[in-house]
Symmetry: C2
Subunit: 496 residues, 2 copies
């Protein structure tokens, strides 16, 4: 897969910093240049948000983090980079100068993307020597979570550049969407601008306040748009007759006097005060950091939900997440079946928001999920991966005995360990512990039994030699360990 | 809580039918009048979709369904109804006539809501004798899932009417939002109209195709808008300085030439063809029913995700769902601790889309979830409900031993049964079976042990007499049952 080998971010801040986080978390060494005196602090905060979000977003193995280097000049930052992302303030002269400077210093084959939310790339590439590799890659806040980048070429941009950019975004979990023709504000901000203009009139004219307007969005079409867009939604609204029927029915509304969009609202002090005050009433109970945290948790949850959609095939941003995870698994170093006479550490996780009850405690069945995921990790370690399962064999869990010893709380870092219990060639019998990372305390244990099966026949058969050859050294290394006291215990059995 | 006692839907179809589904599933007897020759079929289909969606949406106990009655006249339909919802085609003369007819026949105190998506209520109430009780209640498709209803009064509508309407929507799981002043298209359709106009230009001018436009929405701000709206999202974008900072930064864009909204696009044949053809390319691989199913599953998943948000307190539509469930639990008949010498049937569920792996099989830990939820149902049966837990006592699960015997598949209806195993006053020891409803086959068993605790001290104590008094008859009735063969078994134990 085409990929970015080294990245440079010119301009940090909320957008540039989040691009850096995307790169670094995907294992790409990244240089950053930002003359702002607080650049390191701001980028550090964005990076922390991104890491927190990724912890919740996926259990797939992220590669070792890329190295983040703060540079003193644009020239130093772009050296050796094959993707350079410009995210300086939104002024055409400033952006054009910075991009011209990048162009002069960078490898002529390096891609140069601009984060501009509205300036046409033709404007920005005007003074470049190698303008064919410059384009707009317009992301959406929070950039570390929302996958979209609008890719827009200028008059001098080559078609190959846009295709290459799109391909290179995939391995960092992003969705590059090529816009056919450049216009100011591209596609997304055109749509947002339309809503923003109309919304301002509704507030100014006292039709509703900001909270009501937001409620109208989020209790209705917002949830439609998270998964389908406008046209696909309306296709369904058209019923069996589809899009044509919808347009026939609702097209005429266009000529009704339903809008004040022809006028631009005057954002005078009175209107700014009104909006700011209404916004305080609406959201003031939550601090900025708190709202940001809630937003990110919700985005994670929505993407995870969409990942399970469409019979498990994934849908929209969830399909993209699923593809990203497949990519991560494929590129992760095969977990080495490294024999050890200690229990194997299999899983490192955090208790995420969707796992807790209203007391903030991890829900009962999530303990089982931890142990089941750890068993999957052991399987991958001995060669039972997606390809193996696709070939018609697998291990099925048939029994598990979980003892819950202490609570896990929201945000707790946890890990599991596993001892292999001697068994025969058809069985994989283990004893697992769930630990709290901060002090190693055991929160739960699980005695777990899997059988090796031929899936189509649904029949238990011995595992093949290749699998057993990987399992045996692990099991042998544990042969000298005493059996955990709880092995062979039944529910309610008194302690010995 | 103020509630609707009897509803009438004048006009079926996709909107009216879905209102009827909302009412009926909330236990409200509902009359329906629609002269369309296929009204019964259409409403039947909407009702089936709604029931399927509710099955996935909540485990809370819906009341027994209300009675749905097809009537031959408006007069017959409105008799005895205290909420009458008009959903006839979007023509002002037709709607006004129907509403005037409803007004003449209905109880003068009955609320009359119109589903119009754009006509001002003052226009509709013009000829009414009792116009003060008439308003717009504008819902969003699919009405059985999306909770929003914009409530808009006309010149003659009383304020009390809007407040009453809002209060009466809560117990049917909807969010009534009162719009301060009437304008054509109210708030939601103003915003949608703005995006629709701008979007049509983008397609006509070949800036992008319909699929790209939809992708731009759903991979980015669509997911923001599902949870927050526009103003709250921008408040975060403003950073610590909030809304004022955001407006200062982005307000000026308003005067840029970023829009063609001043013109209305001509929806000529060429443009209709273009949109319809692009839409076929984008979505044609899925049939209408399939898209509808995927949409509904995604909406369910998004609402469930938002229910777990904000540390389990819920957020937006998820908070609303949580409140709706609390209402359902409070109003459900207390599960009778009816002693039986058969195992108790505790839980009836369906395998929902978020529970299956990519093979369409229920994931391992969801078996545990079924048994945990069944244990909760048993607890409620003996008086351990939310109030009891809030008072400082609860039962905590300490051990469970699950044996998985067969697969459960997406959509399978399942139920659990439970035998109480003799124990002491501190313990609740049970043995549970998970059955497939179609043939009663046992898919899994669970031996389960809970301890009664004083939560604050985290200390095991005997359950109080009131709880034991409810538990004892259930346990006594099971005393004569043979112990299930698997009780006291350990993992991997050979069958006797």
């Amino acid at each position: 897969m085409t990929k970015i080998n080294k990245a440079a971010c010119i301009g940090g801040g909320v957008i540039g910093g989040a691009w850096a986080a995307r790169f670094v978390l995907a294992g790409i060494d990244t240089n950053i240049f930002d003359p702002h005196p607080e650049a390191e602090r701001i980028i550090g905060e964005v990076m922390a948000n991104a890491e927190r979000a990724y912890d919740m977003l996926t259990m797939a193995p992220l590669p070792p983090k890329g190295k983040l280097t703060f540079c003193k000049t644009v020239e130093e930052a772009v050296e050796g980079a094959d993707w350079i992302q410009e995210s300086v303030p939104e002024r055409v002269d400033l952006k054009r100068n910075v991009i011209t400077q990048i162009d002069a210093a960078a490898d002529p084959k390096a891609l140069i993307g601009s984060s501009t939310s509205g300036i046409m790339p033709t404007e920005l590439q005007r003074d470049m020597k190698h303008p064919e590799r410059m384009f707009v890659a317009h992301p959406y806040n929070p950039v570390y979570l929302l996958p979209l980048a609008e890719l827009v070429g200028g008059e001098k941009t080559s078609k190959a550049t846009l295709e290459e950019a799109k391909a290179k975004l995939t391995p960092i979990g992003m969705k590059g969407v090529i816009i056919k023709k450049e216009i100011e504000a591209f596609v997304g901000d055109r749509l947002l601008e339309a809503v923003w203009r109309e919304g301002l009139w509704l507030i100014k004219d006292d039709i509703c306040d900001t909270e009501t307007l937001d409620d109208v969005i989020r209790y209705s079409f917002g949830m439609r748009w998270a998964q389908m867009g406008m046209f696909e939604t309306y296709r369904i609204a058209g019923g069996e007759a589809g899009m044509r029927h919808f347009i026939a029915q609702f097209g005429p509304c266009l000529s009704w006097p339903w809008t004040k969009l022809m006028d631009v609202v005057d954002l005078d002090d009175a209107l700014v005060d009104k909006i700011a005050n209404q916004s305080d009433v609406q959201s003031g109970a939550y601090g900025f950091r708190e709202l940001e945290r809630i937003r990110d948790e919700n985005l994670v949850g929505i993407m995870q939900t969409l990942k399970g959609s469409n019979g498990g095939q994934g849908w929209g941003a969830g399909k993209l997440l699923s593809d990203f995870e497949t990519h991560l698994w494929k590129n992760a170093p095969k977990p080495e079946a490294k024999a050890s006479d200690e229990p194997l550490r299999l899983l490192d996780i955090k208790v995420n928001p969707s796992w807790v009850d209203y007391n903030g405690h991890m829900t009962e069945y999530r303990y089982n999920q931890c142990f089941a995921d750890a068993a999957d990790a052991l399987l991958r370690m001995i060669g039972v991966d997606m390809d193996y399962v696709a070939d018609g064999h697998s291990y099925y869990t048939v029994e598990s005995h979980v003892r819950m010893l202490a609570e896990a709380k929201l945000g707790d870092a946890l890990y599991t360990t596993c001892q292999i219990i001697p068994s025969d060639d058809k069985k994989l019998h283990t004893f697992q512990w769930l630990h709290r990372a901060s002090d190693g305390a055991v929160l739960a244990t699980c005695e777990h039994l899997m059988l090796h099966v031929a899936s189509a026949e649904n029949k238990t058969i011995a595992a093949p030699a290749a699998i057993l050859a990987k399992l045996k050294p692990l099991a042998d290394a544990h042969a000298g360990l005493a059996l955990p006291e709880a092995v062979g215990r039944h529910v309610g059995q008194k302690k010995a």
